[in-house]
Symmetry: C2
Subunit: 179 residues, 2 copies
């Protein structure tokens, strides 16, 4: 079965690359200051060769205790995580970690804006943190371990895709929180 | 000459360790959600041994394009950099990079709160970004390349030091922006 040309997942760019380009666009146009945090790495061994840059010779990937993206838009603290699935039918909740959920809860409690950007079913969705928490709690109390496509379509916001910016999530935030 | 017992620089902890402890205290008490960003690393080579964790075998330190700490306090975006000097007389501006200054300017333009925490002369100071910009511009236009001790004392805010939290910079922010 051939997918429609516009399907997001067919484009050969990763969600992270597209979000980095989008954030760079927001930065250049003075729309928002939002960055991806560096990948957390546990550094064990470093070489210091004479006359050249230090080389990390042994290091391990660490789990982050927060989400991957944060910054400021119109004075408000913005904080989000981006996740993709290849599944055609649902979004597995194992993509999220307990500590990311509790980080997002704290952000909300402190008056920040938190959400997830989901790449799934050929589209990109913005799901507000409060909505994610409901699906997470359903799982925690023994319910299903994923969010169905139908549920995502009903509870999330389609993000306009384009050339510049690629994933215009600020447009969704603007409607939800700033009008 | 023997320094007073209370001198901050004599305590054997790094500024970063003390700030991490402080941020953890703020997190535990639900005062603020502020984290240090991971050190940015350019990963070149990774081994994937069977049955054990991936090992980074070649990587390099990258310069960050932002400041080191950010988060949310009372709904506001908080963004800062921490720096120390061993000098007794002044704070060298070479501790800051051009891109950090422009990042801080963007944060201010977007309604965030930005500042630097300076460990110098046995004390810890909070200098608001707008004040730092003035000293930076003086340097850029051919003036002195450091901030004198007297200037820091006159233009910055002493941060209360203690056991818990160690460097209570939120107390200073509270007075400056939230009363
Ligand atoms: Mg992630
Ligand atoms: Mg730094």
């Amino acid at each position: 079965k051939r997918e429609a040309k516009e399907s997001y997942s067919n484009r050969g760019m990763t969600l992270e690359e597209d979000l980095n380009e989008t954030n760079q666009f927001y930065l250049n146009r003075a729309i928002a200051v939002i960055h991806k945090k560096p990948t957390p790495v546990q550094i064990v061994n470093v070489d210091f060769p004479k006359r050249s840059a230090a080389v990390i010779r042994e290091a391990y990937f660490k789990q982050s205790s927060t989400t991957d993206y944060n910054g400021v838009y119109k004075g408000k603290y913005i904080d989000f995580e981006a996740k993709e699935t290849q599944s055609d039918t649902s979004f597995p909740l194992k993509n999220f970690h307990e500590h990311q959920i509790s980080h997002m809860k704290m952000v909300i409690d402190h008056g920040g804006i938190s959400f997830v950007i989901l790449s799934a079913f050929g589209s990109v969705y913005l799901m507000e943190a409060a909505v994610l928490f409901e699906f997470w709690e359903r799982k925690e109390s023994g319910g299903r371990k994923s969010i169905s496509k139908k549920e995502i379509e009903a509870s999330s916001h389609l993000i306009p895709l384009g050339y510049q910016p690629r994933i215009d999530y600020i447009k969704v935030l603007e409607k939800l929180y700033f009008h």
